[in-house]
Amino acid sequence: MTHHLYRFFPELEDQTITVPAGSVAEVLRAVDTMTPGFTDYILDEHGALRQHVNLCINDHIVIDKKRLSDFVPNDGTVYIFQALSGG
C-alpha cells in the first residue's frame, strides 16, 4: 500500500498482510479487523472507495468502486494507491 498510510498505521509498515480470498470489501474488512479504523481512510461511510484512492487486484484496477465486489483470488494481491486525480 502507499507508504502514506503508514503515517496513520505505523504497525502496518513493511508488513505483508495475508487474509482469506474474497471480495475486495471482505479483504478490506479483514484488514480493518486487524487494524481498527483502517477502512475509514480508504472508504466513505457507505463503504464506497474514496474519490482519490485507487485499488488494484494484481495488475487490474478495481472496477466496482461502490460496493467493492471485485473478487480477489487466493493468490491475488490487493494494492492501495493514492489516485493521481488529486486530493
Binding site: F8, D40, D44, E45, H52
Partner: protein
C-alpha cells in the same frame, strides 16, 4: 489574555506562543495535511484541528497536552439513510413549476468538517461540528461519538425527512463554492453560536441558505433571515438562499449578532429576529469573509474588507481592517502596519479572531498580522506561511 494562536493552514496546524510581548511559532503540526479549522476548547484547553485529507477523508484531531502530541479521533459519519437533495436535474422533461416533484437524491458523505464549536461549561464533552454537505453533528463525549442532528437535516427547507421517503417540500438550500474542491456543489455549515445564557439556544449559519435558530436544543429549527438582502436572486428578501460567509455573536450580549455576508455586512441586536444591513461600500465595508465581535460590547465589530465578489482580493492593493463601535452606523479603517502596496491577500471566513484587545488574521497568501490595540495598529507574525484557513486565539 490569550497565550496561544492556532492557525489552520493548507499545510498543517501552526501554533504561536506568547512569550512576554512576542509571539513565537512552533514547528508545524499535521505536516502536509490541509487543516481547515483549528481551535482551543476554552473549557479544558483541548486543541482541535479539522484535517481535510485530500485522499483519506476528513478527520478530527485533538491534542490534550497543549499541542505537543495529537491524536486522530473516530470519524464523523452520516447515518445510513441520510440523503439530501442535490440540484434538480436539467432533464428535457423538467417542469420548473413543480421542481419538488423531481428532486435528485444523493447519499450523504462528509466532505469537509468546516467548523468546530464547544458546548457550555454545564455540558462537558459537548461539541458541535458543521460539515459540507450541510450537517450539524453533536458529540456528548468529547468527540468519541457523533450524532447527526436530524431535525435540522430533515428541515422543511431541505425537502423534509428523506430518511423516511421522498421530499415533501422544495429544497431551498444551495451549494457553496467552498465545496467545489470536492467535485460537488453542496451547502455547508460554517458558523455555530451557542448562547452562553442558554445552551439549548443555538444559531447556525449555512452557505447557501442563511441563519437558522433553535431554542430547544436542536429539536426544532427556524430560519432567521428577516431583513437580509441578496443580490443574486430575483427576490432579494427571499426567506432562503442567503450566503452568510460567517456569523458570530457577542459572548456578553448574545442577542448582538454579526454577519459578514456575500452581499454586505449585517447586524442584529435582537437575536437574529431581524437583521439590518450596515455596509458602507464607500468606506470599503461591504464584501469580505470574516467578522469578529468584541467579547463585551456587542456594538463593536471588525471586518477585513475585500473587493468583491468578482475579484476577491484586497482593495486597491492594500490591506485594511475596519472597526465599528456603534453597531455599524460608522466604520473606521485602520492600515498602520499593514501592507499598502502590491497586497492581494484575501482573508477567509474563519481567519480573523479577537481576544480582549488582541486581533489576529491570516490570509491565503500566507501572511499573518496581529494587533494588540483593538485593530488600530498591526505587526506581521509571518510572511511565508502556507495559505491560512483559520485563525483562533486559545
Amino acid at each position: 489574555m490569550a497565550n496561544i494562536i492556532l492557525l489552520g493552514t493548507r499545510k498543517g496546524t501552526v501554533l504561536f506562543d506568547r512569550t512576554n510581548s512576542t509571539w513565537q511559532p512552533r514547528p508545524i503540526s499535521h505536516q502536509g495535511v490541509p487543516v481547515c479549522y483549528a481551535a482551543c476548547d476554552p473549557r479544558d484547553g483541548t486543541l482541535w484541528a479539522s484535517l481535510d485529507h485530500g485522499h483519506w477523508g476528513p478527520k478530527l484531531s485533538r491534542s490534550q497536552d497543549g499541542g505537543a502530541t495529537w491524536e486522530d479521533m473516530p470519524p464523523i459519519k452520516y447515518p445510513e439513510g441520510a440523503r439530501y437533495i442535490v440540484k434538480y436535474l436539467p432533464t428535457p422533461d423538467f417542469d420548473p413549476t413543480s421542481p419538488e416533484g423531481q428532486p435528485e437524491y444523493r447519499d450523504a458523505t462528509v466532505f469537509k468538517i468546516w467548523n468546530i464549536a464547544f458546548g457550555s461549561t454545564d455540558q462537558p464533552g459537548r461539541l458541535y461540528a458543521g460539515t459540507i454537505p450541510g450537517g450539524l453533528f453533536i458529540s456528548n463525549d468529547g468527540g468519541m461519538n457523533w450524532e447527526l442532528n436530524r431535525p435540522l437535516w430533515n428541515h422543511e427547507s431541505r425537502g423534509g425527512d428523506l430518511f423516511n421517503g421522498d421530499a415533501t417540500s422544495e429544497n431551498r438550500w444551495q451549494g457553496s463554492p467552498a465545496s467545489v474542491d470536492y467535485g460537488v456543489f453542496e451547502p455547508g455549515i460554517h458558523s455555530i453560536i451557542v448562547d452562553p445564557r442558554d445552551p439549548a439556544h443555538i444559531h447556525v449559519a449555512a452557505s447557501t441558505a442563511g441563519v437558522i435558530e433553535t431554542g430547544d436544543g436542536g429539536q426544532t429549527w427556524a430560519g432567521r433571515n428577516k431583513g437580509m438582502l441578496m443580490d443574486y436572486l430575483p427576490n432579494p428578501e427571499a426567506e432562503w438562499g442567503h450566503d452568510p460567509h460567517f456569523v458570530t455573536g457577542c459572548p456578553d450580549q448574545p442577542d448582538h449578532l454579526w454577519q459578514q455576508n456575500h452581499c454586505g455586512v449585517f447586524f442584529s441586536d435582537d437575536g437574529a429576529r431581524t437583521w439590518r444591513k450596515v455596509s458602507l461600500p464607500d468606506a470599503g465595508v461591504h464584501f469580505g469573509f470574516p467578522i469578529a465581535v468584541d467579547e463585551h460590547d456587542g456594538r463593536t465589530a471588525w471586518v477585513v474588507p475585500a473587493r468583491g465578489d468578482s475579484e476577491r482580493m484586497a482593495i486597491g492593493g492594500g490591506l485594511s481592517v475596519s472597526r465599528t463601535t456603534d453597531g455599524g452606523r460608522s466604520w473606521q479603517s485602520f492600515r498602520n502596519g499593514l501592507p499598502q502596496q502590491n497586497a492581494y491577500d484575501i482573508v477567509l471566513r474563519h481567519a480573523l479572531d479577537v481576544a480582549g484587545d488582541c486581533l489576529c488574521f491570516g490570509s491565503t497568501t500566507g501572511n499573518v498580522y496581529l494587533s494588540e490595540d483593538r485593530g488600530e495598529t498591526w505587526r506581521c507574525l509571518g510572511n511565508n506561511l502556507p495559505p491560512v484557513y483559520s485563525v483562533r486565539f486559545g
